[in-house]
């Protein structure tokens, strides 16, 4: 398949995906702001923009690194690409689609019963739904290839 990246991208993706996600979580939990507070002091009218800009840049780069890492891991060739690998890849995509559909249906039913989430809850739900697809695909593909078929 011509859309696949060379195998060397897989290791790169396996490093930058969790690293990007960890940094993004730190930013979300306020740790970056805390570090900036130690460096420049408490945010005031002149430094609040600096805090926002730094958080925005770090958040963007880290989340894009996470997504880029997932892309690298998902779309890298195996060392030997044969029909078994290609079939396993297709099966894993089907599995991931099924997991995502079930999660989406469950989420909507939950919202109908409990009520729509406040603030960014709905956006978080959709982001989780997309991430669940890719994480399910990566998990299933590697499990089948490296554990079940050995």
């Amino acid at each position: 398949m011509k859309l696949l990246l060379p195998n060397r991208f897989k290791k790169t993706g396996a490093v930058i995906a969790p690293l990007g996600f960890a940094i993004w979580l730190l930013m979300q939990s306020g740790y970056i702001s805390e570090m900036l507070t130690h460096i420049v002091g408490e945010p005031n009218s002149s430094t609040v923009i600096l805090f926002r800009v730094v958080n925005a840049i770090i958040g963007t780069i880290s989340f894009l690194s996470f997504l880029g890492g997932i892309y690298f891991v998902s779309f890298s060739r195996e060392k030997i690409e044969d029909e078994m690998v290609q079939r396993t890849r297709l099966d894993s995509f089907q599995f991931a689609a099924l997991v995502q559909i079930i999660f989406t249906i469950a989420g909507f039913l939950f919202m109908i019963i409990v009520g729509e989430p406040k603030d960014a809850g709905l956006m978080l739900f959709f982001i989780l739904s997309i991430l669940l697809f890719w994480l399910s695909f990566i998990g299933r593909f590697n499990y089948i290839l490296h554990f079940k078929l050995r």
């Binding site: 195996e78 060392k79 030997i80 044969d82 029909e83 078994m84 690998v85 290839l145 079940k148 078929l149 050995r150």
Partner: protein, 66 residues
């Protein structure tokens, strides 16, 4: 589906790696076929039969519930 790939491979005194290289697949694929964990495509079955100088039907057999 059952197969006698391992027996035929040993008859030809080939290792899994050698057979895998001859039919352009990974060793893991050969292992999976021998363990009945993977059903090869028609193309791969024909390649295996050609390398092992056997008919496809002599290597791969349908089971009752197939």
């Amino acid at each position: 589906m059952k197969n006698s790939l391992k027996e035929e491979r040993l008859r030809k005194q080939l290792t899994q790696v050698q057979l895998a290289e001859l039919v352009s697949v990974s060793r893991q694929t050969i292992i999976s076929i021998e363990l009945n964990k993977y059903t090869p495509s028609v193309l791969l079955s024909l390649k295996l039969a050609k390398v092992l100088t056997k008919r496809v039907e002599d290597i791969f057999r349908l089971e009752e519930f197939d």
